[in-house]
Symmetry: C2
Subunit: 469 residues, 2 copies
């Protein structure tokens, strides 16, 4: 397949260069539009690309335009004549027009809206004004709606006549006299049904819809749960205003995951693909979190500064600071990753907080017990290899130091799993994205606590005379 | 919607308790199957659940059974009579049978296979033997195939007669005389076409398919790129052997993301949902990585142990160890998260390694410059607040220490972004999942390097006499 595409790209470039009308039309008839768009994005010269819009019928180029990246779309729109722009608008789905307008400069938006016929302009404006990440922001207004009391035969006739303009006919939406949404029928059920049955008789038992302001992540969960092809979007009066199709939902899922991954890695989410984001922009997305974390990290400095005299007594305690900090951070990161993902998938809700805490506490004790027992043995082995760790501790002191570190590890694991579990819930409570409580954030907070616990345990041993001098 | 469901659950429980046949049938006719399955999973008593299979027609219960969790399915299968099991098999799609057999104990698998009619048993066995995470493992064998030279009218007639058994008729697959796959037709194109046209004339220009052994993540990318409803799966002879539908792909995307999130958080991926995983199992998924990381962390101990005499000269250097380690780790985590995600989405490939490294190097320098300049100022402010950091350094020494730490921060950011960028590519090269090179892993490796850089820079200052005594 890939080889075939490489060949087609060479043909595309040469057809463009030689202004070969016949070849270009044949490419548009034979190559997936999204691949043609990928070829075209690499062409620097806009006037070459304009050749495509001049010679290929606009039925074929409307989709092509939609698939292009923002940059290429903007260059083209600036070059289009009014006539070409009108043709493009007429052949595009309303949601596609809205999608590209959202990323265009104001003058192009104004010009495009001016050239859009009045009724469509209203839908475009409406869609442009819906809040980001809501059901409305991903819906299309080209759906297919029928009266629920007509027969299957009448419905099929209507679909043949008027269905072509709709983005999907695989789900037909049913309304009553008051234009209220009353159900849906799948196209396959229409095909298998007796032509004399009414749509009411064969409509889906699942009468599912969503509201314009519902979060798109919630809509995606509904698609997943009910294996939907399309979902109705209604307004406050229960009237159908748009439809979301499954292909748009796959993009939603991807976008939400990208955002969560970025946030959890401590990066402000990128707007474009990785390779399209310039280094300076990338640095500006990375630096803020690092700076915030350095400020939180000041507390670690203060803890160490306060305990420097104690550290001078037993310098070996310093050696274990990295391993303690890493383990605490890593243990928290594990919980954090799982909890945020489970919250995103609605595997549990905010009200399950205590159930989750209890589960994590048990997990933390078990994990801590396994890890700290193991660590204790590792430390003793290290101490017993001559010359590996340079220290003047006696064997008993080595045992006690290993014990203190292992105990600190156990406490750090329990504490960090608790913090990592509580922070995402707190974020949801505060109506923030739980992914904001990222692993780096948890790590840095836990570090301060781990150090305090570490020195606390040491102080107890020391003060009670348990630390053998 | 949610309120309605709560009401339906109460009705379900009471219908079950009162053995109300009529009510139960009506529930199965009116409530989405997946919701009924969620209600049923909460019922402990299997004999109650058996009531459902005795009174509700198996057309309705086959789907219901598929939606139940493993535990409930196993309990039910153990209770089913042979007759009931045969009925269930006959009404279920082959891929659903395979799905539940995959998680059942051997005796149940043997019994089910024994009761499955011979031809279907062969398909079931074949599907059971395909490798996990391949296209074949998510495909169904109930697709709808037609000869490419028949007319639209003949095709519609065939669909009405034989399409009901197929999992989807929205995409019809076309074959030639040799049973080789030659294309696809969408149902909507069939409906809008002239009844006298042949399928060859109206088939999709995108002739897309995938191979049985293709990775499911790659298949998901194809669905996303081409907005597909269904995709053909072919064997080595280019013969159609199965079909993947978009609803299964949404599950694939979710599963792959869950795995990546778990791996990147340093957890062995969970098999079940978070709440269904027992604490001990969870601890066993968490502990291994923590132990591996403690072993890597030994190097940090060794570095500190080697440099303890130097640390004794300028104890203030110790204070900055946490902030240095955190920043290095966090900077690496950012890059790691973005790179792994971009690799998963195929935004770039292994061959783009040097391009990515170059991009990250530029980003790292910019990020490092911003962060370390800022950090230098913060350190100086800290030093100038009386009593905040307990140290006996002179002002010039404070300036130099802040400088050393900032320089170490800059180096740590650059180094860690490089490591974080290289490791996922290395994993792909070694044919491992890039998500394995998780953030904790990068953090721990970078920590060792950051400490070495830190003391290296200090030693240079010290040895060259630049550190004012």
């Amino acid at each position: 397949m890939a080889k075939w595409l490489v060949k087609k790209e060479i043909e595309f470039v040469s057809a463009l260069k030689n202004r070969d009308v016949k070849k270009m039309r044949s490419l548009f008839n034979n190559v997936p539009t999204v691949d043609l768009a990928i070829f075209a994005e690499k062409i620097e010269d806009v006037s070459s690309l304009m050749f495509i819009f001049k010679v290929v019928p606009s039925e074929l180029t409307a989709d092509f335009f939609t698939e292009l990246n923002d940059e290429t779309q903007e260059k083209l729109l600036n070059t289009f004549s009014d006539k070409e722009l009108v043709e493009l608008i007429n052949k595009s789905y309303t949601d596609d027009i809205v999608d590209f307008l959202e990323d265009m400069p104001a003058n192009l938006v104004t010009r495009t809206l001016r050239l859009t016929p009045k009724e469509r302009r209203e839908s475009v404006n409406k869609l442009l004004n819906y809040k980001e990440d809501t059901a409305a922001s991903v819906m299309t207004t080209e759906y297919f709606e029928l009266h629920s009391d007509i027969t299957v035969e009448e419905a099929m006739k209507a679909i043949r006549e008027k269905g072509k303009k709709a983005e999907t006919i695989y789900t037909v939406f049913l309304r009553d006299e008051k234009r209220t949404l009353v159900g849906t029928v799948d196209l396959d059920d229409l095909i298998f049904a007796d032509p004399k049955q009414t749509l009411d008789e064969i409509k889906n038992k699942e009468f599912l819809f969503t509201h314009v302001n519902t979060d798109q992540e919630e809509v995606a969960q509904k698609f997943k749960k009910y294996d939907l092809h399309a979902l109705a979007v209604v307004n406050n009066e229960q009237k159908l205003v748009g439809v979301i199709t499954v292909d748009d939902i796959i993009d939603v899922i991807e976008k939400e995951v990208n955002e969560d991954v970025a946030l959890q890695s401590g990066v402000v989410p990128l707007k474009d693909e990785y390779m399209e984001t310039k280094p300076l922009r990338m640095a500006l997305k990375c630096a803020p979190w690092l700076i915030v974390l350095i400020i939180i990290g000041i507390f670690s400095e203060l803890v160490l500064s306060k305990f420097q005299e104690k550290l001078a007594i037993v310098p070996a305690l310093i050696f274990f600071i990295p391993v303690l900090m890493d383990t605490g951070g890593n243990a928290g990161g594990q919980t954090c990753g799982l909890i945020i993902r489970a919250l995103a998938l609605k595997e549990f809700e905010v009200k399950d907080f205590w159930k989750v805490v209890w589960k994590e506490t048990k997990t933390a004790f078990l994990t801590g017990a396994i890890v700290s027992t193991f660590a204790f043995c590792v430390f003793m082995v290290e101490f017993s290899i001559p010359g590996l760790i340079q220290t003047e501790l006696s064997i008993i002191q080595k045992l006690v130091v290993s014990g203190i570190v292992s105990l600190a590890l156990l406490s750090a694991i329990i504490l960090s799993k608790f913090v990592a579990c509580a922070l995402p819930f707190l974020a949801v409570r505060l109506k923030k994205d739980p992914a904001l409580t990222s692993q780096p954030f948890v790590t840095t907070i836990v570090d301060v606590c781990s150090l305090l616990i570490y020195f606390g345990i040491f102080m107890i041993f020391f003060a009670t005379g348990f630390f053998p001098r």
